[in-house]
């Protein structure tokens, strides 16, 4: 048997100031040329484990680290720079990790750091781009690429340095099924040629068939580790949410189209009605226009054609439309959770007594009562999301728009979250098909610039 590329034994890790361990007692081995899939819900520890394997943890992150990690014969802790280019990484959100302006410069960055000649760099960049089907994209600006194309650029940048171990965090997140299949085929071919691939991925339907082995994480622990053919994803349990009969039309869209200046249309010809009592899920891969659609409904953007009519008014002391941004941190502006929750009722001109009543009620509903004196930015990601949501629902909005409320929440929490919302109409975006199917009364799928109704 070939020597393992990676040996992890009894690994535990707690982030600095973390309330509990992010990883606990993790053990596994990965052999050369394997496609090794790390699976698990959001927050289960997949990304943390990848950060360990690329050396960022513990060398650059601090925290409490224990156990043994050996990657390509090196014992941890090792600084990430010491294992480059043998180990290359593709991060979860390529948009945040891309360093250059053009595709060529991005893919060439690692090669420049290795001191290759311009000729060799050009050759390797061309090869890497070809391997991800992006030949001819060299001079394109990264800001002009779709999410999926950026993801492939990130993959090309990782492949260009010819690593022995490739670590990829959610490489399929922004890809349509065909492109995702193509990327997985590329990874499988590379693995067959000796490259070891470890990928953290939640789209198991697309990745499982290409993986040799699976490590399924739950709450930072290994729940399953073995051949992918033996793996059955655990069933997710969702509480049932009450369903109301759809009432009057609250939002009416007619021939709606939207395009950013100088770019093609995100969607066109959208004619839809949203009614009171509906809980609508917007489905589709990242970058398909879900966020843009919610921003249009909230009035943050103007449609390029068609019209949006909101056929209701806000009662006194209430907001008409509330929006939870995809990045809830952009909504936190106060020095305490209490002040944050009180912000909207203050702006609605409510009495101090009414503000206190609403804050108390919402804090209880969202399990925030113990944090009212805390600084919002000192809370966990999931808690910050609940604070941001709370700061909207203390304004009792009639229409509530939620952009990815499932982020950093397990299904049970998501269901609880949706159950607490008392708005007449709730529209939420998610990439989680099951969450959409179970928790929504109506599902809309974004595909190729169109929005299709999904029969549940």
């Amino acid at each position: 048997m070939r020597k393992a590329s990676i040996r992890v034994k009894n690994l535990s890790y707690r982030y600095p100031e973390g309330t509990g361990p992010a990883l606990e007692g993790i053990s596994f081995e990965v052999r050369p040329g394997e496609v090794f899939l790390l699976a698990g819900e959001t927050g289960s520890g997949k990304s943390t484990l990848l950060s360990v394997l690329c050396g960022l943890i513990p060398a650059e992150s601090g925290g409490e680290f224990s156990g043994k990690v050996e990657v390509l014969g090196r014992q941890w802790p090792v600084a990430p720079g010491e294992i480059f280019p043998e180990v290359a990484v593709g991060f979860q959100n390529p948009a945040e990790h891309l360093l250059a302006e053009t595709v060529f410069a991005e893919v060439a960055f690692g090669l420049e750091n290795l001191g290759f000649s311009p000729l060799e760099i050009r050759k390797r960049v061309a090869e890497a781009l070809e391997s991800v089907n992006l030949s001819g994209f060299e001079d394109r600006r990264l800001s002009e690429l779709s999410g999926g194309e950026r993801q492939r650029v990130a993959l090309a940048a990782a492949l260009a340095v010819k690593p022995r171990l490739l670590l990829l965090d959610e490489p399929l997140a922004q890809l349509d099924p065909q492109t995702a299949h193509r990327v997985m085929t590329i990874l499988r071919t590379l693995a067959n040629n000796g490259l070891t691939v470890i990928l953290a991925e939640h789209r198991l339907d697309l990745a499982l068939g290409f993986a040799d082995r699976v490590c399924f994480l739950e709450g930072g622990r290994v729940a399953f580790c073995g051949p992918s053919k033996d793996f059955r994803p655990p069933a997710r349990k969702f509480p049932l949410l009450p369903r109301a009969r759809p009432g009057e039309v609250l939002i009416s869209l007619r021939d709606l189209a939207f395009a950013r200046p100088g770019k093609s249309e995100v969607f066109r010809g959208i004619t839809l009605d949203f009614r009171a009592g509906e809980r609508v899920a917007l489905l589709g891969p990242n970058g398909c226009g879900k966020t843009t659609f919610l921003h249009l409904l909230a009035g943050l953007l103007e449609p390029t054609a068609g019209r949006i009519e909101i056929r209701t008014k806000a009662p006194t002391g209430s907001l008409l439309v509330g929006l939870l941004l995809q990045d809830p941190d952009l909504m936190l502006i106060r020095e305490s959770v209490y002040a944050e929750l009180a912000f909207t009722p203050e702006n609605l001109g409510l009495s101090e007594k009414e503000i206190q009543r609403r804050v108390k009620l919402v804090a209880e509903k969202l399990a925030l009562s113990d944090f009212l004196d805390r600084v919002p930015f000192a809370l966990s990601r999931g808690q910050r999301l609940r604070v941001a949501l709370g700061s909207v629902i203390t304004g009792h909005p009639r229409i509530l728009l939620l952009d990815e409320p499932t982020t950093a929440q397990d299904p049970r929490n998501t269901a609880r979250l949706l159950a607490t919302l008392s708005a007449d109409l709730v529209i939420f975006s998610t990439h989680d098909e099951e969450v959409a199917r179970v928790l929504a009364t109506r599902v809309l799928r974004f595909e190729d610039g169109e929005i299709r109704e999904v029969n549940k």
Binding site: S51, C54, G55, L56, E60, A79, P80, G81, F84, P85, V87, A88, V89, F91, N93, E96, H97, L98, L99, A100, E101, T102, F104, A105, A108, F109, G110, E112, N113, L114, P118, I121, R141, A157, V161, A298, G299, L300, L319, V321, G322, L323, L325, D327, D329, L330, M331, L332, I333, R334, E335, F343, T344, E346, N347, L348, F377, S391, V392, G395
Partner: protein
């Protein structure tokens, strides 16, 4: 002639010269000439309509803002009162426009406009990739040049974040001045919290990407994929920088003469040149 096509290093040199001269020069005429040259440079690069609109807005508000404020609040002597908004009273010195203040404001605003025009020319006429490549190739550690480049690159992201934060505030019922000036100031200032949190997150992501891609902040710069600097432009840039150095030396000599530290009879024509034109 299209100044857009000049090599980034030539543009750096010209911008550096204009910025330097705008600090060294004192006479309104010479500053006006410098500002005009910088403006011609900008116009010859054929900037878009939006850039010109922004430029006009910035320059007009800068020039008039500084001139009016200096005209009103000039404290030096002599003073020539042009007219008074509030005439002086028994216990009040009045609020009057002072001619010397206007002139002083004009000089200060010309300095700003000259540097602004040159900077805008450099930034708007150079493709981003070429600009970043040129900065990265400067003889400085890569840690510094990459930081400078990243700071510029993330400006649009910060602007988009700021737009979203303000829209989110509006959706929460916030309207500036509706609940008083103090409340408004407090809310407007608090926008800094989410912006800082985003900046920290972006920095962290950037650092992770750099650490895992073999980046060494102390390594020297590399001139890869930067187009060669044409010889005529190189010579022109050196001559221009020498001209700037010459003006600087003249100003120093003149200052030494004024301070009665050094006086050279044969330099009298140069002293006159500095006194009247520089």
């Amino acid at each position: 002639m299209n100044t857009r096509k000049l090599h980034p290093y030539t543009k750096f040199g010209v911008s550096f010269l204009v910025s330097g001269l705008s600090v060294i020069l004192d006479r309104p005429l010479s500053l006006a000439v410098l500002t005009s040259l910088a403006l011609v440079l900008l116009l010859l690069s054929r900037p878009g309509r939006q850039i010109l609109k922004t430029y006009l807005l910035l320059t007009v508000t800068t020039v008039w803002g500084i001139m009016v404020s200096q005209g009103l609040f000039y404290q030096e002597y002599p003073r020539t009162v042009l007219f008074c908004l509030i005439p002086p009273g028994e216990h009040f010195a009045g609020l009057c426009f002072i001619k010397e203040g206007f002139l002083y404001g004009l000089i200060q605003s010309l300095r700003l406009v000259a540097a602004l025009s040159a900077g805008l020319y450099l930034v708007t006429s150079t493709p981003q990739e070429a600009f970043f490549r040129a900065v990265s190739a400067l003889p400085l550690p890569r840690g510094l040049t990459l930081m400078a480049v990243s700071a510029v690159r993330f400006l649009p992201t910060v602007a988009e974040d700021l737009r979203l934060i303000r829209k989110a505030l509006r959706l929460k019922g916030y309207r500036p001045l509706k609940r008083g000036i103090l409340y408004t100031i407090k809310v407007e200032l608090s926008v800094i919290y989410p912006l800082l949190s985003q900046a920290v997150r972006h920095s962290r992501s950037l650092a992770d990407a750099l650490l895992t891609r073999g980046f060494d902040p102390l390594s020297p710069s590399r001139r890869l994929f930067l187009s060669p600097w044409p010889r005529p432009e190189k010579i022109l840039t050196v001559l221009l920088l020498l001209l700037g150095l010459g003006v600087f030396v003249l100003k120093v000599l003149f200052w030494l003469y004024l301070q009665e530290v050094l006086y050279v009879e044969s330099l009298r024509p140069l002293y006159a040149l500095v006194r009247n034109f520089l």
